[in-house]
């Protein structure tokens, strides 16, 4: 599982941080950071939740 975030689309709602804190973080710089671009399959459900709850559709899972 590989994750891509379109930072131009990201609107910093932070719902992904709540869904999958192992993978997403908003840093001190006020930007979204991908902590792990290729998370383990065990995190798939959490990442899928982040994808469907992102209000701007900024997150994609590219297999």
């Amino acid at each position: 599982m590989k994750i891509v975030v379109d930072l131009n689309q990201c609107d910093l709602h932070g719902l992904c941080v709540e869904a999958a804190p192992e993978v997403f973080e908003i840093g001190d710089d006020g930007q979204l950071h991908l902590l792990n671009e290729t998370p383990d399959q065990s995190l798939r459900a959490k990442v899928e939740k982040a994808v469907r709850e992102c209000p701007t559709g900024a997150i994609s899972i590219v297999e």
Binding site: D11, L12, H13, G14, E18, G30, P55, G57
Partner: protein, 396 residues
């Protein structure tokens, strides 16, 4: 035997329900019925990017990486569901056809309230759907003066978008300050000042008593006796849940479809989104919530429970979240500040229009408002979900 699932309502909740059903392995017939002719689209950009012209209306359609084919939907667009028979498990549609189901998910949303006693006419608009946005944007091309009735979030976003287009904007609000029912007065004042600083003529504490202009709007008469000239009038005074088609169904309707914690309104029948009142553990109540994230969460919940079947219900617990973009401010709100007893600004200030405010009821943290402070919102959203005490929230 679960062979056929019907979803009524082809907006965000309907789409997320369909996606969830397929993702969880449902491979039977899946029908998606929508009264608008459009495939599912996203509403938040309509009052902002679309009106401001930074996003074309067609860019609001939900993009699906694998297209709609992968969902294998029987999409029936532009046709309204007119009635539901719970005994025969059959929906009647406006085109005279029927749709039979084993499970049903209702996500028919809500529609804007209109001004009581005011007849429709050219130049008098609401904003809810894509067609509304296209019509309003078209009207704004030749409308130097816009009046907006209602200083709720939709009205205030339209006001900000109209100011971005350089239009003359008047906002009329019945309450003494905008957003009073959901925020604290000091924060309402801040929102009012922000709009006035951006050139909005904000008239509070008065209502519209008449609209002048027969074939097309010309001006409004207010309860304080003043008259406001307007080429376009946008009414944003709340919404009504779309439940009339269910009046004879036997479902419990009371400002929406009343559901248990599984999202179930009757055996095999679920509801989600703006039309639903799902028992919410976090609230200890069954509120009707009109937010984007609520539509997603309830749709996923309903779809999962529809597959699990009657009796396999999970309870629903969700902290309401919404946001609003006005000028250069991102306003984010999580929780429920109605009936709050205290509001404390824990970071930033009203003067800066950049702040984090917390709301207390009893000894519990009930809500957080963040203006241009997205990280703070994430922190307090987590604490709200954990139902922390006020004391714990203040020292977090």
């Amino acid at each position: 035997m679960l062979r056929r699932i019907a979803i009524v309502g082809a907006s965000l909740a309907g789409l997320r329900a369909a996606e969830t059903l397929r993702a969880r392995g449902f491979d039977g017939e899946l029908t998606l019925i929508g009264d608008e002719p459009h495939r599912p689209y996203d509403r938040p950009p309509l009052s902002k990017q679309v009106l401001q012209g930074t996003q074309e209306p067609e860019q609001t359609f939900f993009r699906r990486k694998d297209g709609y084919d992968a969902l294998a939907l029987d999409m029936r667009l532009g046709v309204r569901a007119t009635s539901l028979d719970l005994h025969t498990k059959r929906l009647a549609l406006a085109d005279g056809t029927f749709s039979d189901y084993d499970r049903l998910i209702i996500a028919t949303g809500a529609r804007p309230r209109t001004l009581p006693g005011i007849a429709p006419r050219t130049g008098l608009l609401v904003l809810r759907g894509l067609d509304d946005a296209v019509a309003l944007k078209q009207e704004l091309m030749n409308a130097p003066r816009v009046a907006i009735v209602g200083a709720g979030f939709i009205g205030l976003e339209v006001a900000a978008s109209c100011r971005a287009r350089g239009l003359h904007v008047t906002v009329i609000e019945a309450l003494p300050v905008p957003l009073l029912p959901i925020l604290a007065p000091a924060l309402c004042d801040m929102v009012a000042a922000m709009h006035r600083d951006h050139g909005v003529d904000l008239r509070t504490g008065c209502i519209v008593t008449d609209i002048i202009g027969e074939s097309r709007v010309n001006s409004l008469v207010l309860s304080d006796g003043s008259q406001i000239n307007a080429d376009v009038i946008v009414v944003g005074i709340g919404v009504i849940p779309n439940t009339e088609w269910l009046d004879s169904s036997g479902l419990t309707l009371d400002n929406g479809i009343v559901c248990d914690g599984s999202g179930q309104a009757a055996p095999g029948v679920y509801a989600a989104g703006d039309v639903a009142r799902v028992a919410n553990q976090w609230h200890g109540d069954s509120p009707r919530i009109e937010h984007w994230t609520n539509a997603v969460e309830q749709a996923v919940h309903a779809a999962e429970n529809a597959l699990a079947g009657t009796g396999a219900s999970a309870s629903f617990s969700s902290v309401p979240y919404f946001w609003s973009d006005q000028y250069d401010r991102k306003i984010q709100f999580v929780g429920d500040a109605r009936r709050h007893e205290e509001m404390v600004i824990v970071d930033g200030s009203v003067a800066d229009r950049r702040l984090t405010a917390l709301f207390r009821r009893g000894d519990r943290l009930m809500a957080c408002l963040a203006v241009n402070q997205p990280r703070a919102l994430i922190k307090y959203r987590k604490l709200l979900a954990e139902c922390v005490s006020w004391e714990a929230a203040l020292t977090a």
